[in-house]
Symmetry: C2
Subunit: 426 residues, 2 copies
Amino acid sequence: MTTTDTQTSTTELMLAIGKKAKAAARILRNATDKQKSTALLQMADLLLEKKDELIAANRKDLEAAKERNLAAALVDRLTISETTIQSMATGLRQIAAMPDPVGKRSETIVRPNGMMVAQMRVPIGVIGIIYESRPNVTIDAAALCIKSGNATILRGGSEAFHSNQALGEVILEGLRAAKLPEDCVQVVPTTDRAAVGSLVTMTDYVDVIVPRGGKGLIERLSQEASVPLIKHLDGNCHLYIDKDADLAKAHAVAINAKTYRYGICGTMETLLVHHEVAPALLPDLCADLQQKGVELRGCERTRNLVDDIKEATDEDWETEFLAPILAIRIVDSYDQAVDHIALYSSEHTESIVTENLNTALRFQKEVDSSSVYVNLPTCFADGFEYGLGAEIGISTNRLHARGPVGLEGLTTEKWVLTGNGQLRGQ
Amino acid sequence: MTTTDTQTSTTELMLAIGKKAKAAARILRNATDKQKSTALLQMADLLLEKKDELIAANRKDLEAAKERNLAAALVDRLTISETTIQSMATGLRQIAAMPDPVGKRSETIVRPNGMMVAQMRVPIGVIGIIYESRPNVTIDAAALCIKSGNATILRGGSEAFHSNQALGEVILEGLRAAKLPEDCVQVVPTTDRAAVGSLVTMTDYVDVIVPRGGKGLIERLSQEASVPLIKHLDGNCHLYIDKDADLAKAHAVAINAKTYRYGICGTMETLLVHHEVAPALLPDLCADLQQKGVELRGCERTRNLVDDIKEATDEDWETEFLAPILAIRIVDSYDQAVDHIALYSSEHTESIVTENLNTALRFQKEVDSSSVYVNLPTCFADGFEYGLGAEIGISTNRLHARGPVGLEGLTTEKWVLTGNGQLRGQ
């Protein structure tokens, strides 16, 4: 076939998948929690039963990865081991045990004419997930979508094709066991890049796309997509040490915010320190960070205070390093810290360390990020840590779900009004 | 200037407006409710004081409308009278009196490590409103946005240019009196169509667009926009009379649903009737509707039952008539009614008339529209009727606000976490 022929057939394939997803969504929307949880528990059992098959399918991807000289980190993320299978199964059981978000009604308001007004939580409809490398996303995303009553179209990276197809079989069997339509979860059966282009523009069939991957992928999708995206581009997270901070707390929180893990989106990338506490805090803190292998880039005042610090550039203030690098700035005041955040933050997660109640409340009110902390490291940005049980991703969108997106973020609300023949205008 | 020059300067103008709106939004976001309400109450007083000036400005638009032979209905909507000024002032005072949605915190969850997790309601940011004809939208939209803490860019129709500019002056004076930045509300000072194109694509400065106008306008904007829209395209609303309906109630609800007003989006456009009750219900109901001047278009079975009914086509099932026309179909079962709705509805508002509890609850659960009623006419679709106090529009989006959008729909939430030095992974 020519390239154009392949594209046409991929478009047709994706439209057919979309149509089937929409039909399945109508049934899944009305499924009981028991059915949905049965599917997930079955999937958990099947993962463990079929672990040899899954590891064999994964081996094909790993061999191809070796031939293509994929980076070691990517190969690591791609690998399915007994441990990853066990943790996928545990995740499925945890999600199965969570309360069903669907059908929940808000408080009911009774209008003067006796009419009752409430809101009911309902699934969004059809959710497309586009992700790279990690095959465990196939299971996690399918589980969250099934539990929240949404049909799903899963498009993983081509490097994980065989693994994802094998995991897709497990999902199918789980759905069958729960007497749910097989089309509730569809793993896209082609590596053709045109499938992604179709998925993000099929507004008739797909209600939302959740992209999981690097900034490059997400920027590209944002430009192409006409379906709305639940997403964040980057996590340029700030920690501000206020003049009224407890310095021991500040030290521990800063170390944890930077070094808990370098590669997660909640990692602190810039540390802002009030000038009154900088001399007492920074020398020890910087030494500890450097000792842990963190490269420091500072403003002039920071460099006057501590040795071996590179000069921070404007680009450093803007950058999510995702690496053992930290930018440090000494500020004159609370306001200068908040202005710095307003200018450079990606509105993901920011935190203040202070013992002052008013300053803490002001910071939570005035900083316009999806998560705003007091006396906590920014690396807490995670659905499990917030008590959501699981998350499909973190959103810095201003509409719909913001911050970690769990089951509730995968639902929407409709108004339900109940009357007894009330008429309007009478 | 050439057309290209005009476009360039309009683009620059709009970018400058966007930048100013974003800066103003940062201040308005943190304004007290007292400041915001003061602005609205001042605007109410000023409207009444300046009514002669406003009517004079409006006269310029009316004269231009006459020269351009605008349709009488449009001229009617364009007209500012003492009554419309009075009702704008009343609206402002009502919105001022409503509770401030901003800053409200959800229930707080305490995590095992003692960290407290809650969500805080916050303004969205900058809202663009694109509307036609009615100058009162200038005041209503500005008031809702100010009260919800959002900066606004208002782009009315060119036919209302002078009226909107004069109303914009009133808004400015209100903001000044409350010591809020003038840029909190900006009325676009040009009729150049390129301004709309800029507004809906300035993703750096505008967070959401609320279009108010006909389906044509909204379809055009949906295609052009990269900023998300809170919108509905049409309201093809259904009323289903179940076999267990109280027929007197069904009769009254159907008449009200169709004839309360023909031109609003909640008006019933298709009536579905269970075949068991059709013979007892339809002859009288159709006679009453015809007597009120409603043209009826029915399925074959309806036409066998009642005289003077045209044949309904597929197009009729799909159409929001916005006129004294009604499509009627007799269905075999509840399921056929729900299937018809799933196929043809615009997911705006649907209603069932039934005395059967199970059927009522099934309908509210299974029908996937933004509002689903029991024993109520669809024409209740309105923010005031739901108790929201006011509305900026009705949304059939699946993400963020669905159904009537009031102050809460103009806000979003952020996570606020408060700790005492808890660390992750320890």
